[in-house]
């Protein structure tokens, strides 16, 4: 009997959440975390292998379904989750760390992170759009408490804002899902599988365009809030900056992509409706707004993590634009960018955590001369920053180039031109902040650079390696996965 990898992906984090409750010491809790992180990495790797050799897998009467697109998200969540968990072990779990947590808090932290991971895997594997919605709402509930982990006034404000805004957004998304269901029942008659994505895609050509358009409005407002698309992004900088650093990495690297994934699933359905261009229009509007607003806000940021958060908004906008331009190239670019952004941004958040520890502040005005004062961290920040700004040979350059060329070649020249302007602005803002942080004399004494902490460096190493490798050469299995995902969307 083949091993049910699909199910294991969901069971492992739940089991971890159960197991960590029994941890008697902080070391035991850390051990559980490392075990879960590695186990999840392995399970996802095996699942992806099965996926690449056997094709789309479905299980439990079509309730769970994994195709190449889900595979991409699984990969992202697994990599980001692995890095973030390993980093957490040093950041919160190690005794002597400035953020050291007492055992009960540490246990609860790990439990919530495991639940957060569980809900994100559920999103990736759900076939039923209702279940997908439940997964996304679950991510909000699990991560809201993580965002408020420090329980300071600012953290509580940020997490309440996050909880309410995202919940409201998701209520709208639920309404959109319901309308989609109505459209599907209208075509297929009542049964039990109308909300299944596989069913919706196959009957897509018959769905009523008027109803789907109404559904889209609600779905975009809902999932768009969660994905951090401007102007619905207002929760994002607060939540990202107030959460503990490993959680910020999870939010930016994994969670935003889960919401974007939901939109891509909807997009795939509407692509089947003949002559229906509303999804592309929505993506275009939200995408342009996001890249421009974020690029402008990047200039005025004073907080390191808020800077990274706004860059996430910008990159979500770029992905949305890639989807708006469409076609095989645009889609490939968008999905590729999803992956690149996840890896790069996670690495940067983790580096920024180290930098903030070394400089004892997150304030951009006060961090200066990092290359001199903390050469190791500074060098990593330089690498990550260049990657994020989209400098070749880093992978984000390639995906942005693909999206731009798709835009210009598909007759969306104006939009692509605007996107180019925004990219240049964002590049300017990022490099301006980077030079200020890295060069010059350090304004104040830095803490001695954190000694090579095994777990944190491992976590950081994983994502940095992925980010760099992606830019230099696209490994064959990965390219196969990406092409498969494009196939899934385009049909």
């Amino acid at each position: 009997m083949p091993i049910p990898w699909i199910l294991l992906v969901l069971i492992v984090p739940l089991a971890g959440a159960g197991a960590v409750a029994f941890a008697r010491t902080r070391d035991q809790a850390n051990a559980v975390a490392i075990a879960v992180a590695l186990a999840l990495g392995l399970v996802v790797a095996f699942l992806l292998q099965a996926l690449l050799t056997l094709g789309a897998l479905s299980s439990y009467g079509g309730l769970l379904y994994v195709d190449d697109l889900s595979g991409l998200l699984l990969l992202i969540v697994a990599v980001v989750g692995l890095a973030s968990l390993l980093y957490s072990v040093d950041y919160l779990g190690r005794s002597g760390s400035p953020h050291e947590a007492p055992l009960p808090r540490l246990r609860r932290y790990y439990q919530l992170v495991f639940l957060f991971l569980f809900t994100m895997y559920l999103v990736a594997e759900a076939n039923n759009l209702g279940v997908l919605w439940i997964g996304l709402e679950g991510t909000t509930l699990a991560s809201a408490l993580l965002v408020g982990y420090y329980q300071t006034r600012r953290a509580q404000e940020a997490s309440w804002k996050y909880l309410i805004l995202c919940s409201v957004g998701l209520v709208f998304a639920l309404f959109g899902t319901l309308l989609l269901y109505v459209a599907s029942v209208h075509v297929l008659g009542a049964g039990n599988s109308e909300l299944n994505w596989t069913t919706l895609v196959s009957s897509g050509s018959q769905l009523d365009p008027g109803l789907v358009r109404l559904a889209l409005v609600f779905l975009f407002v809902g999932y768009g809030t969660k994905a951090g698309l401007a102007p619905l992004h207002t929760w994002l900088p607060d939540a990202h900056s107030e959460a503990p650093t490993p959680v910020s990495a999870l939010l930016s690297g994994a969670l935003l992509n889960c919401a974007m994934y939901a939109l891509i699933r909807i997009y795939a359905i509407t692509l089947r409706i003949p002559g229906f261009l509303w999804t592309q229009r929505f993506f275009l509007i939200f995408g342009l707004l996001s890249v421009f607003l974020a690029a402008l806000f990047l200039f005025v940021q004073r907080d390191l993590k808020r800077l990274l958060a706004y860059s996430s908004v910008e990159n979500m906008g770029i992905i949305a634009l890639g989807l708006a331009f469409g076609g095989a190239i645009g889609l490939f670019g968008a999905l590729y960018h999803l992956l690149n952004h996840a890896a790069t941004k996670t690495a940067l958040f983790l580096v920024s955590g180290n930098l903030a520890l070394a400089a004892r502040t997150k304030d951009l005005q006060e961090i200066q001369g990092a290359l001199v004062a903390a050469p190791g961290t500074g060098a990593l920040l330089l690498l990550g920053g260049l990657a994020l700004a989209g400098v070749p040979p880093f992978s984000m350059f390639s995906s942005e180039l693909l999206i731009l060329s798709a835009g210009f070649s598909q007759g969306n020249g104006v939009a692509a031109g605007l996107m180019l302007i925004a990219l240049v602005l964002a590049f300017g803002a990022l490099s301006w902040h980077l030079t200020r942080m890295l060069l010059g004399p350090p304004g104040h004494p830095y803490a001695p650079e954190t000694r090579a902490v095994v777990c944190a460096s491992l976590g950081l190493g994983v994502v940095l390696a992925v980010a760099l490798a992606l830019g230099l050469l696209l490994p064959d299995p990965l390219s196969q996965l990406l092409h498969g995902a494009v196939q899934v969307v385009n049909g």
Binding site: L63, N128, G130, V131, W133, I134, E137, G138, L141, A144, L145, G148, Q151, T152, R153, R154, Q156, E157, A158, S159, W160, K161, L163, I164, S167, V168, V171, F172, L174, F175, L178, Y181, V182, A183, V185, H186, A190, N192, L195, D208, G210, L211, L214, P237, D238, E242, F297, V300
Partner: protein, 218 residues
């Protein structure tokens, strides 16, 4: 028989709309919570009628869930929060009662105007309820954005959910058992998470007025 269930749905929709409007004029939090409980109860009974009409076991489950979770457990949780936190019992608002009531009317008119025309589903007899559901959804949203207290924001969210639920039973007779179980569980967890937050907020702010949450801007 079909006629009876459709009419019951219509009346229930009207009750939901009426309670949504009434929730706009409440000045005491308990009254707001009670109104929400009545609204949920009306929805649950409607779901029961629809289940009886179609002899559908999963809709019975849905009806039971709604009555237990939305009409009993959630209001109970909210009342306890109000009592235990010792928050002032008044609903603080950005919009006056009269402005809120008129906004509620405007929301209904806009919903009717925008979605009233979308009726591609002639075979669903209660499709005319779509505008009412949208109106309830938006009234809940209005409640959420114009009330200052964190707890009233939660009630707004729950009213929004009821609007969706109304649309669910009116248009599709439920979303399938599995999804509905998940939705109910989500609502419960939401209430619990909100409660944890409110308790923490009380510790650090001495009150649970979301208006105090203004430190983060830009």
């Amino acid at each position: 028989m079909i006629v009876l269930a459709v009419q019951a749905l219509d009346i229930s929709a009207a009750i939901v709309l009426v309670t949504a409007w009434i929730s706009l004029i409440h000045r005491r939090i308990e009254a707001l919570v009670d109104t929400y409980a009545i609204q949920s109860g009306a929805l649950g009974i409607t779901a029961g009628l629809v289940a009886y009409q179609y002899q559908a076991p999963d809709i019975y489950v849905l009806a039971g869930l709604t009555i237990v979770v939305n009409a009993i457990v959630l209001p109970w949780l909210l009342r306890r929060v109000v009592r235990n936190l010792g928050v002032s019992r008044m609903v603080n608002m950005y919009a006056s009662v009269r402005a809120s009531a008129l906004a509620g009317l405007a929301i209904l008119l806009v919903s009717v105007w925008v979605v009233g025309g979308i009726t591609p589903f002639a075979e669903v007899p209660s499709a005319g309820l779509l505008p009412i559901s949208v109106a309830v959804l938006l009234i809940g949203f209005f409640l959420l954005i114009t009330r200052r207290k964190a707890i009233t924001q939660v009630v707004g969210l729950l009213v929004m959910n009821n609007g969706i639920f109304l649309a669910g039973i009116a248009l599709t007779y439920g979303l399938g058992l599995f999804v509905e179980l998940g939705l109910a569980a989500n609502l419960l967890v939401l209430a619990i998470v909100a409660r944890i937050f409110l308790e923490r907020m009380k510790e650090s702010f001495d009150h649970v007025d979301a208006d105090a949450l203004r430190a983060l801007e830009g």
